[in-house]
Symmetry: C2
């Protein structure tokens, strides 16, 4: 059976998706009996060297050439960004095209609208590549694990920040130096804000929250910290206590309360997430039947992302061949569960102080402000072992808000105290 596909955007991911299909078209045909072809491509840059031949007549600069083409069954959206991508996807769905996207920002921003429009128009909408690149996490969570209630999700879902933290950890480098090298190597954007400030991760967490807990969140409302404030010293202290620092998206259900956040986090060496380094991504989930589960792989890159995109295309094409290419009614928002913002976690706190403030002074002040100290130690100034450079505290589980209030008061109570780091502990 012949299935024609329209492609919106042929940058890196579009090129990788096209290449994945061309490379494995014969195998896909043998496995499924489906002859899938990308027949039209919306892209201005026709002449770019993509490393393989793409017939020029496939290219168009008019999206309507794709939406109104009756021979096209499936539209792949790989433009990125919320607009015009969302408008294009809506247009495609309303024209009876199935839609596949890798666009986390658009999916996070318009989750219900996209799923409902697909349902209303009796077509399918798939977005596997929007979280974790090539890792089949959306498929696993929505299908194979659908007999579970989820209790926890923790993910490393941004390769740029994981690369930076891994390099800082492995080679004792500073954030700024690693970022520079990452930019030179093309692992980080010229403007790295969306990655290093955790915005990209928040988009992905919003999608995971919808899938796992039926909770809808605007990504910008998710409690979030990036990695720009993580110092070499934090990483060394973490290591000395048996932790790696990772930028995690985390969500946890306790009773009917669900908390979530995007934060740099101390991950114990023994936890499988601690072994996920450099450009790799991983999603760790705990289900009430399956227990601990982790999916690990390449979270970005043209071919890994192409693998996820074309996996979705094959699913839809198979459904077309069975004459059931429509989605069931989307799962509604879960009104029983309550989103509570950032929940209580153990925290690592590093405070700088004047020479004359003792650990006892500070510990007493923390206790007076409701912080329950699990362990603490003095940090020595590097050149003078007697100099008190500061103190490190591990605080038993405390909510983000309570901690913030306490730290403000502590800074008022002891004049010279300055908060140099606050990091969650998994």
């Amino acid at each position: 059976m012949k299935i024609n596909v329209g492609l919106l955007g042929m940058g890196n991911i579009g090129t990788g998706s096209y290449q994945t299909l061309e490379m494995n078209r014969k195998t896909i045909f043998e496995r499924t009996g489906l002859d899938i072809e990308i027949t039209r491509i919306l892209e201005r840059d026709v002449d770019r060297d993509r490393g393989f031949f793409v017939p020029k007549e496939k290219f168009t600069q008019n999206p309507d050439d794709i939406f109104s083409d009756e021979n096209i069954d499936i539209v792949i959206e790989l433009i990125g960004g919320i607009e015009p991508a969302t408008t294009f996807m809506m247009e495609a769905l309303k024209n009876g095209k199935h839609v596949v996207t890798a666009n986390k920002a658009a999916v996070a921003a318009n989750y219900d609208m996209l799923l409902e429009t697909a349902y209303e128009n009796k077509v399918m909408f798939r977005y596997e590549a929007s979280v974790g690149g090539g890792i089949p996490v959306i498929n696993a969570l929505t299908k194979a694990l659908s007999a579970n209630e989820f209790e926890e999700i923790h993910g490393i879902v941004n390769g740029t920040t994981n690369y930076i933290l891994s390099q800082m950890t492995d080679f004792g480098l500073d954030y700024a130096d690693v970022l520079k090298v990452a930019q030179e190597k093309g692992f980080a954007e010229a403007d790295p804000t969306a990655d290093v400030e955790g915005i990209d991760v928040a988009n992905k967490l919003a999608i995971l929250m919808a899938i796992c807990f039926g909770i809808r969140l605007a990504p910008m409302d998710i409690p979030r910290a990036g990695i720009t404030a993580i110092s070499k010293e934090d990483i060394d202290i973490a290591a000395s206590m048996g932790y790696k620092i990772k930028l995690l998206c985390s969500a946890k259900k306790t009773g009917n309360d669900v908390e979530c956040h995007v934060k740099p986090t101390f991950v114990p060496f023994g936890h499988p997430i601690a072994a996920v380094n450099n450009e790799f991504n991983a999603i760790f989930a705990k289900g009430n039947a399956v227990d601990d589960l982790m999916l690990y792989g390449k979270g970005a890159g043209p071919l890994p992302t192409g693998s996820a995109v074309m996996g979705d295309v094959i699913e839809i094409a198979t459904a077309i061949s069975k004459e059931v290419a429509f989605d069931l009614p989307p799962v509604k928002e879960n009104k029983e569960l309550k989103y509570i913002g950032e929940g209580a976690d153990e925290r690592y706190i590093k405070l700088s102080v004047n020479e004359d403030v003792t650990l006892g002074d500070v510990a007493a002040c923390l206790a007076n402000n409701g912080l329950d100290i699990k362990s603490c130690r003095q940090l020595c100034a590097s050149d003078d072992k007697k100099g008190r450079a500061g103190y490190v505290f591990i605080i038993n589980a405390v909510s983000g808000k309570a901690l913030e209030t306490a730290l403000e008061k502590i800074c008022k109570d002891i004049d010279s105290v300055k908060v140099s780091s606050v990091i969650n502990i998994l």
Copy 2:
């Protein structure tokens, strides 16, 4: 929509599957609109305390009560073993029932027959739980990753042996001592043969070979070694060289040649599989688009396995509700690829020798017999640092057959040489 399910066998896994469904029935209904119920159970042991209430009238001792029950749509087979499980599954399929199983032995032995019978009878056959317990590996490989050609698969797919090797590694214990404790704790069977000799793993590898490469193998024909010969000393030597010893199933495609084997294997510390410990399982795959991917989770246990079983049931029930509960023609055997038995791998070899045989003597003999030494070192007798207890060699990639022939000749060439260990290196 109401979907009735018949259950064959309510031992541990059957109980876990029933419990998974009961525990999450409301959630499953909210997600899918499906009201799934296990209405009949083939099981003699009606009175066993399963920790929750099961109405006695659900039990029967006559399988025909399930096969001929027109209200039953799906049959779950959890009896285990090749027979009578295969006969029961065939009977169910021929009676127009969809079948879900966790039975690796029956699936490995009768893969084509079961898939073809399902196809001919226009029903679905699913076996997610047969490899990796709760880990959705079959779903990932057959669906989400279907745009890939697979290049390599390496799996830890037996929790008992991974537990034993992990405990030997972490606590410096001997095989026999750990096995005894594992048996007492219920982590190993009274007769552990199928686990420790790699037979269980070979069944699972036969299924993975069919899925990933379209190659059909009888599990007993797969080159295989168990873990009974692994010594504490091997584990220590491995650690000193930066490796953990894991019982792996491995398959690799080179051109059109595909090799596979089940063998204890040195896994480099940095490889994600090295961090998979105790009862956990993991399947590592390399696809030509997705690149490296690993799925990690609980490979056994009533609830994790129940998660996979009920995931399959929900998939089928969803298809029933869409009126497309039939399988596409099964993927045929791949005649282009050639199975070549065990391929070439780096190897670790430990030889014991008489006091007067030098490393130079043995190294020369290995070289004369075609073995390409990558590194070697002397092992000291524990009480006498001058005593030559033996030698350890790392040999560059060599096939299993070539190695065996060479080692036989070496033992003839140097009288006192005895082979104490041969272990693959990943």
